[in-house]
């Protein structure tokens, strides 16, 4: 652990072609939404309410990808002690938490007319809410710790623990429910809707990648600025 004393000197991010990727992402999202609204007929029971599915389900899937990224990059940070990995983990956590909130909110909007309630203590709903709270805690931890090296180590531990906890939370809530009553299932998907769902899953995935990249660039730029200020205060230049 002797390397921890020497801070990494970070390079500012290069813009590259990310702006074009952003344009492509938003165009793809608009197109995917337009296509799915055009080609999918209204559901027999749900009518046009079913269109919520095209954001709700992709958001939930990509939320899982984000949290997996948090765990992977938290591990990599603890392994290699490269500050950039910490910043990627943090960016993925931010985007994951937003998608998590979106999943919950859209699920409620869909659930009210379909099930008649805004909320039910179903295993999937409850564990999704718990994950939201776990990662809200992760982001609060980052906000309350200033020292970057310490913040990185601590939030890496919190991120990995949060990811480990998910299956246990899911299991425990499912038992809690099923020991009392039969779990209601939302029903399987009609093949007519799968193309639209796939298109939108990719659209949200691109959006997710784009947002993580942008948040990462912002975080990295902030750290470079901090390091430059520190170096200037010490009377030298961080990079020669």
């Amino acid at each position: 652990m002797t390397t921890a004393a020497v801070p990494n000197i970070l390079e500012p991010p290069r813009p590259g072609r990310w702006a074009w990727f952003g344009v492509f992402t938003f165009a793809f999202l608009v197109a995917a939404q337009a296509i799915s609204i055009a080609i999918s007929p209204p559901d027999r029971d749900m009518g046009d309410l079913q269109k919520i599915l095209y954001i709700h389900v992709p958001a939930a899937w990509n939320m899982g990808i984000c949290y997996l990224l948090v765990a992977v990059y938290s591990f990599r940070y603890l392994w290699k002690r490269d500050e950039r990995h910490d910043l990627i983990a943090a960016s993925a956590a931010e985007v994951g938490t937003v998608l998590n909130g979106l999943t919950l909110a859209l699920g409620m909007i869909w659930g009210r007319p379909t099930w008649g309630v805004w909320w039910t203590w179903d295993a999937r709903l409850t564990s999704t809410l718990i994950m939201f709270l776990v990662f809200a805690g992760y982001l609060a931890l980052r906000a309350f710790v200033e020292e970057p090296e310490r913040r990185a180590r601590w939030s890496a531990a919190a991120g990995i623990f949060g990811a480990i906890n998910y299956p246990v939370v899911y299991m425990s809530v499912r038992w809690w429910r099923t020991l009392h009553q039969v779990q209601s299932s939302p029903g399987t998907l009609d093949p007519n809707y799968t193309l639209s769902l796939r298109l939108n899953a990719f659209a949200i995935l691109f959006l997710c990648i784009y947002f993580i990249r942008r948040r990462y660039e912002a975080a990295l730029t902030e750290r470079v600025a901090e390091q430059t200020l520190q170096a200037a205060a010490l009377g030298g230049s961080a990079r020669g």
């Binding site: 652990m1 921890a4 603890l78 718990i130 709270l133 776990v134 809200a136 805690g137 992760y138 609060a140 931890l141 309350f144 710790v145 310490r150 180590r153 601590w154 890496a156 531990a157 919190a158 990995i160 623990f161 949060g162 480990i164 906890n165 246990v168 939370v169 299991m171 425990s172 809530v173 038992w175 809690w176 020991l179």
Partner: protein
């Protein structure tokens, strides 16, 4: 011999914490009083109806233990931090895991004593009869306490050295403890009813799994968290 040395160190840390606690008693007495206060408040929230109160006893008991326990976890690094003694403690030779093990042990004893008081108080306040399954109930209390204390001691090492530790520790800890609380509450509920549905065993094995997962994870991660 390495394991023996670590164990001696852990025991020394635990002994120091418990001795400090025993000599002042202020910490334990106030936390125990808070535990009972929470039970009384639950009694008010759930109304004077005896059946309703009795049905809610397992949940109230575990939440009282949790809320009072969090204060103990937040205090567990407080003496060192206030005295500037954490850094010297870390500079001692030997694995830092023994420091964690020591803190864990001290908190475990603290929470067990706390739970003894809370359990007795809830038996009285919530009109619960001691069931024939009480040895199993003690086992559930032990397993649940291990779960609370493991993550509590671990997250306190971070939260108590940050700003806003009063908010941060429960915010980090409570969502992570959902499986422990659910399992402990449900097992307690089943055992109090005589475990006619044979559910308690499944919940107890969930507790064992959770404790095993997070005991290993916290011991592996503690080095990274405590560093300078």
């Amino acid at each position: 011999m390495a394991f023996r040395d670590d164990w001696m160190r852990a025991r020394a840390v635990a002994w120091k914490d418990l001795t400090a606690e025993r000599r002042s008693k202020a910490g334990f007495n106030s936390v125990a009083a808070l535990g009972i206060t929470i039970l009384v408040l639950f009694g008010f929230a759930l109304g004077p109806d005896t059946e309703a109160i009795r049905a809610a006893a397992p949940g109230a008991l575990w939440l009282a233990a949790l809320f009072a326990g969090v204060l103990a976890f937040n205090r567990s690094y407080q003496l060192e931090l206030e005295g500037g003694a954490l850094e010297p403690l870390l500079l001692y030779p030997g694995s830092r895991r023994s420091l964690f093990a020591g803190k864990l042990l001290a908190n475990f004893v603290f929470v067990l004593l706390l739970m003894a008081i809370v359990i007795v108080a809830s038996l009285v306040l919530f009109h619960v009869e001691v069931p024939g399954t009480w040895p199993a109930l003690l086992g559930v209390a032990l397993l649940g306490a291990i779960g609370l204390v493991t993550l509590g001691t671990f997250y306190a090492a971070m939260a108590s050295r940050s700003r806003a530790r009063e908010v941060l520790l429960p915010l980090l800890l409570f969502p992570m403890l959902v499986p422990v609380l659910l399992a402990a509450m449900e097992a307690t509920k089943a055992l109090l009813a005589g475990d006619v549905m044979r559910e308690a065993g499944a919940w107890a094995s969930l507790l064992v799994a959770y404790d095993a997962i997070f005991l290993s994870a916290t011991f592996l991660a503690f080095d990274a968290v405590i560093e300078a």
